[in-house]
């Protein structure tokens, strides 16, 4: 059974702090690792990683994948209150029946 584990489950920081969110995975026929941000409603896509060691960046957010050790991290620098959300990590598996297995998420709260 595929498994994705995120840590920590929740985190409270002050504006301006840097945070690192962790995701480890055990996914059969692994193809990709995806990060989503979920505020009040639907998850919105952040990054997809398929190759080891390559960093994806978007503004203050960045992510890297280690396919040997089976984990990924999501970094957020200079956090803002608008970064408060649940961050979901998902492992993608399979061929034509490709599907995602999600972790439980990390609830990030950024206080002013």
């Amino acid at each position: 059974e595929d498994k994705v584990v995120q840590s920590p489950l929740s985190l409270v920081v002050h504006e301006g702090d840097t945070v690192t969110l962790n995701c480890s995975y055990e996914v059969t026929n692994f193809r990709s690792l995806l990060w989503y941000k979920q505020e009040k409603k639907a998850p919105t896509f952040l990054f997809m990683l398929t190759s080891s060691g390559i960093e994806k960046k978007s503004g203050r957010l960045s992510s890297i994948l280690d396919k040997k050790e089976l984990f990924s991290i999501l970094n957020i620098t200079a956090t803002q209150t608008g970064d408060s959300a649940i961050y979901l990590c998902a492992g993608g598996s399979g061929g034509s029946n490709y599907k995602l297995t999600f972790g439980k998420g990390t609830l990030l709260t950024v206080n002013p």
Binding site: P43, M48, F102
Partner: protein, 112 residues
């Protein structure tokens, strides 16, 4: 371009009642998915479809049925609702050869 839409947004059912949740996408995506999200549980896959007329079971299919009669629509049915099915239900879709799933706004279901 509405993306992925879901109806209804919110529903209250009594135990034993039936209902159908509708997901519609206007992106001509082949693949569609139904998830449920419970507090602290992340997203769990209920059923999915790799194309019109096809469906497959996900991680937690019991108590649900699905149909994909038209490419743009994916219906999730509860034949006899139970309190354990109280949850937020998300639909998602994706295009072939692309691994990013796009989510609808969710349906909040309360079963009393």
């Amino acid at each position: 371009n509405a993306g992925v839409t879901q109806t209804p947004k919110f529903r209250v059912l009594k135990t034993g009642q039936s209902m159908t949740l509708l997901c519609a996408q206007d992106m001509n995506h082949e693949y569609m998915y139904w998830y449920r999200q419970d507090p602290g549980m992340g997203l769990r896959l209920i059923h999915y479809s790799v194309g019109e007329g096809t469906t497959a079971k996900g991680e937690v299919p019991d108590g649900y049925n699905v149909s994909r009669l038209k490419k743009q629509n994916f219906l999730l049915g509860l034949e006899s609702a139970a309190p354990s099915q109280t949850s937020v239900y998300f639909c998602a879709s994706r295009a072939p050869l692309l691994e990013t799933q796009y989510f609808g706004p969710g349906t909040r279901l309360l079963v009393l």
